[in-house]
């Protein structure tokens, strides 16, 4: 059995091929995906008998047509880029965090609760509380993973439902429900937060608030942490080769827990932005889907901080503009079609690349695969 991939002219070729296209790949891939998804949606709208040009004009107007729409794009983009970063940060240590939604819910609840207290600096306190709550919820799957070997995809999915039902089904409907809301408890939510805890609005005629610049600063900080500090390097090494990292003396389990805590904190902050910026209380009905969309944002963003910011803003614009589609009789779920296609097109090259290599008969793929399927009794 050959223990190393065969070295030779072919191996040298692949080195050259990669070197002449460094970092260009993911960026172009994402741009291609976004463009193609828009084109396919255009055709799909035409196929339903509506006017796609008009639809896209309305979509663009809803996303970019003046201060109000731009504000909406920024608000939604800020939340999405935070949940996207959350998923990306977990990616760096090799974990697939499907639990951004649950972490966002706890962060939102913490912000709604702390925002009601009469504290000096109530706004930073509420933000910190949200980050801490999300971090704790993100730490659970990390600990389950490193201590008990539970796969994080399973545990984060399950923890999402635990968060949803604990918060929506019990806390917000019961102990934390606004007093005197009586029969309409289910739609009432919690008491409103104090005005001092609101994220200040930045522009007249727009809901744009401090959350947007805050999210951009956080994105910069995350980028710096991951690419410029040795702690970030240790996270990436852990994700790139767990055993090699461990053998080199990096406490890999600790690094996994740290990264998942940061991942949870970012989702928690995304929840805080929603509560402190626009909702001003924890509403009785609060199914945002921002946590799940974070996965799409991270995928399209290629797992890098800069890519995630752009992907977050793009999806934010689509979300902001989607409501206007109804005005021309197009169902707003067409916006989700654009999102879904973009993810599919970004993921597709990665899925098909091994297949293409095999078709081209490249060495070291099909032929050198171990012949023995390892089924353990």
């Amino acid at each position: 059995m050959p223990d190393a991939p065969p070295a030779g002219p072919d191996a040298a070729m692949s080195v050259r091929a990669r070197l002449f296209s460094p970092a260009r790949d993911p960026l172009w891939g994402a741009a291609f995906a976004v463009f193609t998804s828009l084109a396919v949606s255009f055709i799909a709208i035409a196929a339903t008998g509506r006017n796609p040009a008009l639809g896209f004009a309305y979509l663009a107007d809803g996303a970019f047509g003046g201060a109000g729409p731009l504000g909406e794009t920024a608000i939604k983009g800020a939340v999405l880029l935070l949940t996207g970063l959350s998923v990306s940060v977990a990616f760096t240590v090799g974990l697939f965090n499907i639990g951004a939604e649950g972490q966002l819910i706890w962060g939102a609840l913490a912000a709604a609760v702390v925002g009601r207290f009469d504290l000096p600096l109530v706004l930073p306190c509420a933000l910190l509380a949200a980050a801490a709550a999300g971090a704790l919820w993100g730490l659970i799957p990390a600990l389950l993973k490193v201590r008990r070997g539970v796969h994080e995809v399973i545990s984060t999915i399950l923890l999402n439902w635990i968060a949803i039902h604990l918060v929506h089904g019990w806390l917000v409907a019961g102990p934390l429900a606004a007093a005197g809301s009586g029969a309409s408890v289910s739609v009432a939510g919690t008491e409103p937060i104090r005005a001092a805890a609101f994220l200040p609005r930045l522009l007249q005629g727009s809901r744009l608030d401090l959350g947007f610049p805050l999210a951009l600063c956080i994105a910069f900080a995350v980028w710096y942490l991951l690419t410029r500090t040795h702690r970030g390097f240790e996270w990436r090494a852990t994700g790139a080769g767990l055993e090699a990292a461990e053998a080199s003396g990096i406490p890999a389990s600790r690094r996994v827990c740290e990264a998942m805590a940061l991942s949870g904190a970012l989702s928690g902050l995304a929840g805080a932005l929603l509560i402190l910026g626009t909702e001003h209380k924890y509403p009785g009905v609060f199914r945002t889907g921002y946590g799940f969309d974070g996965i799409a944002v991270a995928l399209v963003g290629g797992g890098t901080a800069a890519g995630t910011v752009f992907a977050g803003l793009f999806f934010g614009a689509i979300r902001a503009g989607a409501t206007r589609l109804q005005l021309v009789g197009i169902h707003p779920s067409f916006a989700e079609l654009i999102q879904g296609l973009a993810v599919l097109l970004v993921a597709a090259p990665r899925m098909f690349a091994p297949l293409l290599r095999r078709l081209r008969g490249a060495p070291g793929t099909a032929a050198a695969a171990p012949p023995v399927p390892t089924v353990q009794a």
Partner: protein
């Protein structure tokens, strides 16, 4: 008499690597043929060709006088070739008889004829003296019993040539003895057995004939009765092919010999819970290169893991009089560096760049970091120095480590571990496996230089030539103990005996 199975001129390449290079072998009905060789000698590739999993580039496979279509596993099975792999192909929740008949269930009125299946499975087991409980759930059985189920499965399916791939690797000594009896019984019943192993003593006990593979070629084929363990060890390690002039050896160290590493009564378990090291003791002095020889699987890997903090142990190990740490970080802080056996998994982060891999393990110290930050220019400068010193190709700090060839990957690891800081102890496990001559020479040179600067080097290798060329002394491991410490001039015969746990011819 027609051979049960013959392989004629088999050649199989993977890219630039020729795994099997023109091997012809045959096994007669009722014969046990042992196939031995180091890891990577081509044994697994050869049997994969025999059972139709691989298509040979050249040569043919003939079973009972009929040539089999190349690369067709189905017709190999139909021709009566059955393989028992190291990893069993069993379904845990099903019973023994269900596993045996799975996929070929006897049917009656469209339903599984359970009574007949049970009866047939039980009869097959009894016929060959294999004790299995037909109704037991497979996951409740121990490894040895699961192996018997695999053998019964192959026999029930009509296998007349049984290939056992390192069957004793997973067994305790007593279970292995029983397997040897089973194999003899199968042969007495007219079946042919190809028995793959690298435990030479066991091979001589079980087989009629032994074939030795080395680097894809058949280097020896002889009847066991006419073969001594020493000859076999020579053929396996390639000592026989060595040119008459002895390989150049390094000078004795000029530094005063003072004890650096002391290990006494080290004990530890394998990952499967069986003992690996059973009271191992030795000393290593400054500036010395100590070789660790032995047949694969006698505790060498575990010793390396113990010394690098990757495996817990009992006993004492002290470096410079201070107990060795028990985590990789603590051991590294002590000045221990590691060239691990499995460089892909243990030494490199393949998706990261060459310069990032140089930083691995030293990422918090200059020149790789300044305070909390990565020092990019310092890292680049260091990477360029190391690339030049070790002639890494391509000479690009930003190339992905996973894109380098195996030899260059190992040069990367050697450069990182040996040429930075001042290592006190180097633990190198098969550091030149899979490398070409140039890369091998460079790695050896780096080990010698490190020793010359006063470090102790522990070199684990299966290749006696390598040990002779590089080491000052050679410690031989057998079943987790040191059976002898020999000078590099010791004859192959004597080293072979030590490797098999016997006393050398003369003291």
């Amino acid at each position: 008499m027609t051979a049960a199975l013959s392989l004629v001129g088999i050649r199989k390449r993977f890219g630039a690597l020729t795994a099997v290079d023109g091997v012809s072998l045959s096994v007669a009905p009722g014969e046990v043929l042992a196939l031995v060789g180091e890891n990577g000698a081509g044994k697994s590739t050869l049997i994969s060709v025999a059972c139709g999993l691989y298509k040979a580039d050249e040569g043919k496979v003939v079973a009972f006088g009929r040539e089999l279509p190349a690369g067709d596993a189905r017709s190999a099975i139909d021709a009566g070739i059955g393989v028992v792999y190291q990893h069993f192909m069993l379904v845990g929740p099903l019973t023994v008889w269900e596993n045996v008949v799975l996929g070929r269930e006897p049917r009656r009125f469209g339903l599984i004829d359970a009574a007949r299946a049970r009866r047939e499975v039980a009869r097959t087991a009894v016929e060959f003296g294999l004790s299995v409980e037909v109704d037991a759930q497979v996951s409740s059985l121990n490894v040895a019993a699961q192996q018997r189920v695999e053998i019964v499965k192959q026999l029930w399916r009509g296998a007349r040539v049984l290939i056992l791939d390192e069957p004793t690797a997973v067994l305790a000594p007593r279970e292995a003895d029983e397997l040897v009896r089973t194999v003899r019984a199968l042969a007495a019943g007219g079946r042919s057995v190809i028995f793959i192993s690298h435990k030479l003593r066991e091979v001589l006990a079980v087989a009629d004939r032994v074939a030795v593979l080395r680097r894809g070629r058949l280097t020896r084929e002889s009847a066991c009765a006419e073969t001594s363990a020493g000859q076999l060890a020579e053929a396996v390690t390639g000592a026989a092919e060595r040119p008459a002039a002895s390989a150049p050896r390094r000078q004795s160290p000029l530094l005063p010999a003072s004890s650096l590493l002391r290990c006494s009564d080290i004990q530890c378990n394998r990952s499967n819970g069986r003992p690996a090291l059973r009271g191992l003791s030795f000393r290593l002095t400054r500036g010395e290169i100590l070789g660790i020889a032995g047949v694969d699987g006698n505790g060498q890997s575990e010793l390396a893991e113990v010394l690098t903090g990757l495996r817990s142990f009992t006993g004492t190990a002290s470096l410079d009089g201070v107990p060795l740490g028990s985590t990789p970080a603590a051991v590294r802080a002590h000045g221990v560096v590691h060239l691990p056996e499995d460089r892909h998994r243990r030494a490199l982060c393949l998706p990261l760049s060459v310069e990032e891999n140089f930083a691995l393990g030293r990422q918090r110290a200059p020149p790789f970091a300044r305070g909390l930050r990565i020092d990019k220019s310092g890292r680049r400068a260091r990477a360029e120095d190391l690339i030049e010193a070790f002639d890494l190709r391509p000479p690009l700090p930003l190339a992905r480590a996973g894109d380098l060839s195996g030899g260059n990957q190992q040069k990367l690891v050697a450069a990182r571990e040996l040429a930075q800081g001042n290592p006190k102890l180097v633990v190198a496990v098969q550091p030149t496996r899979g490398l070409d001559l140039g890369a091998t020479r460079r790695v050896h040179e780096a080990l010698r230089n490190t020793a010359r600067q006063g470090a102790g080097v522990l070199l684990v290798s299966l290749d006696l030539d390598e040990l002779r060329a590089v080491c000052d002394r050679i410690a031989v491991l057998y079943e987790g103990r040191v059976t002898g410490i020999a000078s590099p001039e010791t004859s192959d015969e004597d080293l072979g005996r030590l490797m098999l746990g016997q006393e050398p011819a003369r003291a």
